[in-house]
């Protein structure tokens, strides 16, 4: 960090005191459609902020284009509303230049997986310490209702009047395939779960990838209702908890067992299987994370929600810093004047 930057960030330091969610709300009117799932995500994010222990002025939210990408305007902290798909790349440059900052990216299924897919996968493999919140509503909202890379095959939209013939991305599998170190899924209509996951994501050292199911009540209403609504949720969702067997159902009477490498649902009621036979979640097991994420679009399996993987791997920006440090120790702090006069030179009198 240059001395000018150091001076600037020391300039107004004063104890902040205990903040509340309200301190993280900017003075801008929130302009999402009434009933949009984004409101809940904004509220949960603002709610967990005071507990993170990160000074507000050191946090930056970066976004691209789409409904989700208006997010930074509503957070009372530094922010950049960038261009379509590039939030992850902007955030990467910012984090490399300023490893001291807490950098968050807000993106959507279109912004992050379609136009910005390339930057996302490269961020994940590099593992910069950046928190990525991907709002997945399986539709293009801001452009008024075209199918997205996560829309189900056959989806009828304005741009697919005969039904979409695209096969959808499974964001969790994509992230795992990109060697992400933290991959999670949560839902707009489960505030408690979302808060837990967001806090874990914030605490992870490395890129945190959080897919958030988000209801677009205008263009794709109810896309996730089987997983988010009271009457259907428990039979359709299995919550992943580290060290615990995969049990689900209203009566907690069903579980997931591995048959070879294939997960299958078994009943815990008929005495044939008990909790001991079930798959036990381990957040640190890469292979298992692939199997769990792959359950996502399987019709006979519940939808996995929670933290698929949480691993430790060196962060890119720190490695960069280490190389610079090591070079300085070995060669001494660079001297421009010396460099200009180095090598083969000659004098003309």
């Amino acid at each position: 960090m240059s001395t000018l930057v150091e001076e600037a960030i020391r300039a107004n330091l004063a104890p902040e005191g205990k903040l509340t969610a309200k301190d993280f709300q900017s003075d801008q009117d929130v302009r999402w459609c009434p009933g949009c799932g984004d409101y809940s995500i904004l509220a949960q994010t603002q709610r967990i902020m005071p507990d993170l222990g990160i000074p507000r002025h050191t946090m930056v939210f970066v976004s691209g284009i789409g409904c989700s990408s208006r997010f930074p305007y509503y957070m009372n902290m530094y922010g950049i509303h960038g261009i379509h798909g590039r939030a992850t790349a902007i955030a990467s440059g910012l984090k490399m230049a300023r490893p001291d900052l807490s950098v968050w990216v807000v993106t959507g299924d279109g912004d992050g997986l379609s136009i910005g897919g390339n930057h996302l996968i490269h961020l994940l493999r590099r593992n910069l310490d950046i928190k990525v919140l991907l709002f997945n509503n399986q539709i293009y909202g801001l452009t008024k209702g075209q199918y997205s890379p996560t829309s189900e095959t056959g989806k009828i939209t304005k741009s697919t009047p005969y039904g979409s013939i695209d096969y959808p991305f499974n964001p969790a599998s994509l992230a795992l395939g990109s060697s992400a170190t933290f991959v999670a899924r949560t839902m707009d209509r489960d505030p408690k779960h979302m808060q837990t996951v967001l806090k874990r994501a914030a605490g992870h050292q490395g890129t945190s990838f959080v897919e958030i199911y988000q209801n677009c009540n205008v263009f794709n209403d109810g896309a996730f209702f089987p997983f988010t609504e009271k009457d259907s949720k428990e039979d359709n969702v299995v919550f992943l908890e580290h060290g615990k067997p995969l049990i689900f159902g209203k009566e907690k009477d069903k579980g997931i067992r591995l048959n070879g490498f294939t997960p299958e649902v078994v009943s815990l009621k008929d005495g044939k299987y008990s909790a001991d036979d079930l798959l036990v979640h381990n957040e640190h097991d890469t292979t298992l994370s692939f199997i769990l994420a792959d359950m996502t679009y399987k019709p006979n399996l519940p939808r996995p929600i929670g933290i698929f993987l949480a691993l430790t791997r060196p962060c890119y920006e720190r490695e960069m810093q280490h190389q610079i440090q090591a070079a300085k120790e070995k060669r001494g702090d660079g001297d421009m004047k010396k460099l200009l006069n180095s090598g083969e030179t000659w004098v003309i009198n």
Binding site: S2, T3, L4, V5, A8, I9, A11, N12, A14, E16, S26, Q28, P55, R56, H57, T58, V60, I65, Y73, M75, Y78, G79, I80, H81, I83, H84, R86, A89, I90, A91, S92, G93, L94, M96, A97, R98, D100, L101, N118, H119, H122, M320, I324, A326, K328, K330, R331, G332, D333, G334, M336, L339, L340, N341, G343, E344, T345, W346, V347, I348
Partner: protein
């Protein structure tokens, strides 16, 4: 020893040509460095194919390196070469057209065997059929002599073959009275871990020199004395090196960290390579996943208070265009280096062109003015890119720096600048929360405050949506939009108050002024000076600042009857000057992937002067 005579020359142009695997670029670079150390002025033109190892012996696989050096001022790599070193038949065929009548050909006879002749499309051996009658042909079996020099070393034929360029280099060192020492030192360093290759190259280089000294083929040795350059300490530098160092010097003088976000592309990659070396200077280089990530990461770094830079060539600029609009909107410093190459599309990756000027000036959606600067010589890249950084920081704006393949790969002696005397270009980060508004502008420059994350009390949001004046909040207000467009344009226009006026080389009025920009400098300068040698008057103005243009440019142009604009494009500056100043410019255009020959400009000047007298 046979009797050898010596002859003094003011200037010489040599072209080394061979297969792209023959090491011609290396040979040329070594000859250049040795020549620079002897105090000659010089200019070089590497000319190589896009394919890394094109099929051996073919015409399209020929790689060349031309050096023009002398005891007088040298501004171009030479219109024609006096000596052509041809390692094979294809090299001869491709380059014969650039050899001056009566010039010398040094031909590696092994490269003219039946297979090579066939590949080059010769039905008869040109060395034998008298078709080269107007040249002095020296036949040397370089391949065989190289093998003989190494016969007791038990090396693979591949290694032996790879050494033969040092034989050619050794001969040329002898012929032009240059010592082999600096190349020997280089060989020792370069091959420190490969003692066999070190020994082989050393032997072959010396063998080449001794061959010149002892055989009777060469009877004349040429002496080219040092040039009368301005006193001071010199080094040889390529445009891409100068660009990298200029960026580093600017970051240092701005007290900022340098961040480079870049994606490899010919002919700009060498800047990324060069900057990647200087970790101990704190330089952060990021090889991004694509061109867009290159520029957007740099912009993110600038938001964080670094000097964000991205380097690329034309196709890369096309991809970065949207991000340049964002940088214009968020008003952050950003330096974008375009090392131009032949276009459109993939075009001619390894050849030079100046055809991205209008793209730099106008190639964005919406009204998005960006300052544009262009370097005129390899060494000038240092000062010009430094100036681009200064403007970016002071005016909180993206700036485009234009260089091209000819400047980037070309080299010349450089009077090393006095680093202590270079200006401080530090920004003042905003820290005072009192009265802070993200788009409250400086009264003189109209630039907005640079408030970096981490500064308590200045939390704010910026973005690509239209900004409300002062607050920077999102605004769709029609009046505000027009005002902001005008403010952004006015800010860029005001840079004209901050840059030097254009200087005319020659009389302030007359029949003809040549107006140029970028890498045509050397050719124009040489052409103008040759015309003046004949007693005629002609002036020259060369533009470093393309946007905004110097305030006095109109007045300068109005005082001449004719304005000639030579460009390596179809007339882009010409169009600009016509639009802005309503002057009937005369275009001289060339788009062959090659720089102008001074002769071409000279002929055009003569033609105009004849017509208007």
């Amino acid at each position: 020893m046979s009797a050898k005579t010596t002859q003094k020359l003011d200037e010489v142009t040599i072209r080394f040509a061979g297969d792209s695997g023959d090491g011609m670029q290396l040979t040329g670079t070594q000859f250049t460095n040795t020549t620079a150390l002897l105090g000659n002025d010089l200019s070089t033109l590497p000319d190589y194919p896009a394919e890394i190892r094109a099929p051996q012996g073919t015409l399209f696989g020929v790689s060349g390196f031309q050096i023009h050096f002398g005891s007088r001022e040298i501004h171009t790599p030479g219109d024609q070469c006096d000596v052509l070193v041809a390692m094979n038949a294809a090299a001869l065929k491709v380059n014969l057209g650039s050899l001056v009548d009566g010039g010398a050909i040094i031909a590696n006879t092994e490269g003219f065997n039946d297979k090579n002749l066939k590949l080059a499309g010769y039905t008869a051996n040109p060395l034998k059929d008298r078709s080269l009658g107007k040249y002095q042909v020296y036949e040397v079996d370089i391949s065989k002599l190289t093998a003989l020099a190494l016969q007791d070393m038990n090396l693979s034929s591949k290694i032996v073959d790879r050494s033969k360029n040092f034989f050619a280099l050794g001969m040329m060192y002898w012929m032009y009275d240059r010592p082999v020492d600096s190349t020997l030192e280089w060989i020792q360093k370069k091959f420190a871990n490969k003692p066999e290759i070190m020994e082989a190259n050393t032997r072959v280089l010396k063998a080449g020199w001794n061959y010149g000294e002892t055989t009777e083929i060469f009877t004349v040795r040429y002496l080219v004395g040092p040039a009368k350059l301005a006193p001071g300490k010199y080094r040889n530098i390529t445009g891409n090196e100068a660009t990298a160092w200029g960026l580093m010097a600017a970051a240092r003088k701005a007290n900022l960290d340098l961040f480079l976000g870049s994606y490899p592309i010919t002919p700009a990659s060498d800047i990324l390579h060069e900057l990647s070396i200087y970790k101990h200077f704190g330089v952060k280089t990021f090889q991004a996943e694509d061109e867009i990530a290159g520029v957007t990461s740099a912009l993110g770094a600038s938001f964080g208070g670094a000097l964000g830079v991205t380097t690329t060539s034309g196709p890369g600029i096309a991809l970065k265009t949207e991000a340049l609009g964002l940088a214009t909107m968020v008003e952050l410093p950003l330096v974008v280096c375009n090392i131009q190459r032949g276009g459109p599309s993939t075009g001619l990756p390894t050849k030079t062109e100046q055809a991205d000027l209008l793209q730099a000036l106008y190639g964005r959606n919406g009204e998005a003015p960006i300052p544009v600067l262009a370097a005129s010589t390899p060494a000038d890249c240092f000062e010009t890119v430094f100036e681009a950084c200064r403007i970016a920081i002071k005016f909180m704006t993206p700036v485009i720096f234009l260089s091209d393949g000819y400047l980037g790969n070309g080299s010349e002696p450089w009077l090393i600048p006095d680093y202590d005397k270079m200006p401080d270009i530090s920004p003042t980060f905003r820290t005072n929360p009192e009265g802070f508004l993200p788009y409250l502008r400086d009264e003189v420059t109209l630039s907005r405050p640079w408030a970096i994350p981490g500064t308590a009390g200045l939390e704010h949001r910026i973005g690509g949506l239209e900004k409300q004046h002062l607050t920077g909040n999102v605004s769709y207000d029609p009046q505000n939009h027009e005002m902001m467009i005008k403010l952004r344009a006015d800010k860029v226009e005001r840079i004209a108050n901050d840059i030097p006026l254009a200087q005319v080389d020659g009389d302030a009025e007359g029949a003809l002024i040549v107006a140029g920009w970028g890498s045509t400098y050397g050719a124009i300068r040489s052409a103008v000076s040759r015309i003046r040698d004949t007693g005629k008057k002609v002036s020259h103005v060369h533009l470093r600042y393309l946007n905004p243009l110097p305030k006095n440019l109109g007045e300068i142009l109005y005082k001449f009857k004719n304005v000639l604009v030579p460009e390596i494009n179809m007339g882009q500056l010409s169009k600009l000057l016509r639009a802005k100043y309503l002057v009937p410019t005369i275009s001289l255009n060339k788009v062959q992937g090659l720089p102008f020959k001074a002769m071409e400009i000279e002929n055009k000047i003569e033609e105009i002067l004849k017509g208007s007298s």
